[in-house]
Amino acid sequence: MRVKFLLPLFLLFYSCDHGLKPPEQYEEPGFGGTVYFKGTWPDSVYDLRVVAFRNYPPQNIISEVIEGKAKFSQSLPVKVDSVKYEVSADTGKWEYVVVALQYGSNIFSDWKAIGVYDTTQNDTIPTPIYIPFGKFLRGINITCDFNNPPPQPFKFSEIIGLLITKQNESSK
């Protein structure tokens, strides 16, 4: 009798599902690809990275950087024809992916954009990328032409300097 009474409760607790569950197929989200270099390398290159921002145009980049929202790669090797890179970034839309070069010793000011992810030839607006859930997006290739650099966004050098400084501080 007692078993009959407890059986429905047992079934209630153990037979029903638990609603939402984490996906089984999963890889850490991000993106990567190859950076191709054209033209003449500058004599002094202090640092070189791929950086991704959530928004474009970049008026709001400063706050994004301060709040740690921008993502970037490890330092890339210099004076090569091409190099592979990877950036860990959250799922969602990233509107501005750029290759940033530090050309002077001042980490806060000596930066410039040398290449932008842009798949359309007829304008200078960067092409956004969308990282799906649990996916690492591959094939985000960027071409840098030292003889024909892309438009420099507002306060670009200060922003990248701040970003790298923040990374260095956090890694200490």
């Binding site: 209630l12 607790f13 029903c16 638990h18 609603g19 939402l20 569950k21 984490p22 996906p23 999963y26 989200p29 959530r54 928004n55 709001n60 706050s63 994004e64 301060i66 709040e67 740690g68 929202k69 959250d90 799922t91 969602g92 839309k93 859930f133 649990g134």
Partner: protein, 713 residues
Amino acid sequence: MKIFIFLFLITSHIFCQQQKGALTGTVIDAETKQPIFGVNIIIENTFLGAATNPSGKFLIRNIPPGKYMIKLSAIGYEIQKFEVEILPMQETNITVELKPTTYTVEPVVVTATRREQILSEIPVSTHVVESQLISHRNNLQIDDILRYVPGVNMIQYQVNIRGSSGYSRGTGSRVLLLFDGMPFLTGDAGEIIWEAIPVWQIDRIEIVKGAGSALYGSNAIGGVINVITKETMPKRAFRFRTYFGMYDKPYYPEWNWSQRNRFYYGGFASLNFSTNNTSSLIHIQRSIDEGYKQNQNYHRWNLFTKLKYNFSPFSNLNFIFNYLRQKNETFFYWKNLRNALRPRDEDVGAMVNSERFITFAQYKRILSARLFYIARLGFFRNKWNDNATPQNRSTAGFINSEAQVNYQPDDKNYLIAGIDLTYNNVKSSLFGKRNSHSIAIYFQDEIKFSENLSISVGVRNDLYKLDSLKYTGQINPKFSAIYKINRSLNIRTSVGTGFRAPAISEAFTSTTAAGVTVKPNPSLKPERAISFEVGSRLTLPYIAIDLSTFWNHYWNLIEPVFDIDGKIIFKNVTEARIQGAEVGVNFSAVSFINFSLGYTYLFPWDLSEDAILKYRPKHIFYANTNVNYKFLFAGLDFRFISKYERIDQLLKVIVPDAEERVPVYVVDARFGIELKKLKVFANVNNILQYNYVEIVGNLAPIRNFNLSIEYEI
């Protein structure tokens, strides 16, 4: 001319107060012969009445001579009615024995018609949650209480009555919240601050379904929720309660984000004291929640004071001050389903400091057996800031003043008229410096054609001005009727209109957050609605059944949409119709077991897009059972809400895995002991550890346990 007639009526009643009698007496329990505290004694068809003191005694003075029906009601006792003759210049003394009831007594409701009526006499669908259930469940906020009201579902902090609201990111509620009758929506975003309400001082919560702007004006487009706090007691009493709770580990190890268990704890202390004419209450409350999600904790202080001063048996002043100070982390959306209890990287550390208080004074004066008025003046201040860069901050001051006259010229008519004024001033980094104001007048007549048939007609005219924009007027009529087929069964119908003036946040927001830019739209028009309902209620000693079918049509619903420049703007875009039916059953087969359920079917259709409305479920089902045996009690709650089929495109862009939703199946359990002074409550919430979202990207609370102890001296 009408004013003179009205003044004449008032003065004639004042000066005719001679040769009057009084009614005094004692009310005792029929079984134990002990006095009963808090019994309501009402002289029917008049505004005269009283409540018994702790000795069970009462006194009603200044009763015109004549024969009256006296009605006595108290929670846990059968209602008793009998006739009494009041003689001039004499005190009539009675002793009444009330029988403890074996079934649930129908509660008294004030919100539906702006006057006290028992639930079965109300011509619109109304639900009441009483304090005992709130106490047993150890609900920490009233939104948790509303999650078990038939026809109501919460989308995180946004309340929906029969699918009224959907989800609008905390801006502009389509349900009006009243706090002891005072509007309680913030002046800037027009949102409800649930945590500001001291749940353990609530006497009852009344939920009126359907458009109610004919009585309450803006925001009552989908319904009205009135939170009524406990009366101050005419005795000295000290009460305290403490609780301690713990969240279980997440069901899936992938969601584990903390090395240790997460806790929530707090409590309150309250003191009642009184002198000859004054009774007052001070309540102080502390609540801390570490959060089951990362970046979701809060630290909160609440202070609630209530003071009642009786100038005479016919006039009193109630003063209320309610304060909240809170520091809370903000969990906007999950990082993704793999990391369902972690926020997006950019939201880690997001925090809000807030300070809110509402204060108001309400004066009530009974001028004669058939005439009384209430006047109220209140102020609600809402101030918050976050830690974003640049920092967002907002301060809003909302002033409300209302005067209402209740007049019964004869036994057939009950007139209510009033005037309502508001002024709202906002200073915000998001909305700028803005203000709004409104003036409204309303009138209602309840006509009792016979013992069986009553109708109610009413109209309200609102004139409001939003900052520099032009004045806009809104006229909202209503009609309702109730017919008693016999003592147990009635049928009812009601039709009414509603509107909602745009919130300052909807018209003037200018900001960029979470990668999205919002721009202002000062040309927003008010939302409008019409509600129609037919229902029936059967009340038998052991069962009560309420059936209703409803039809609501909405115009100009305000939604955030992408504009042609890619920025978000609030626009009047949606015309919608929500039809449905609802059944509520309350059953007590034996005296110590009560069972109730509610089922609501909704057909929410977006006529503008010819598709189902966003964020609305089609089925809402609740069931709960309560067992009270001597000093022991136990209860079980179950709720089912079907998966809402559509969300907006905007959230799909912002929130990873926004489409990951499931129907809601939640079971909560409770048990405890309830002695005269000591009460112990144990609760297990979400006992089946079911994982679901109310709003996309936000996992609802996982299984948690709590124990609370209350003691009264």
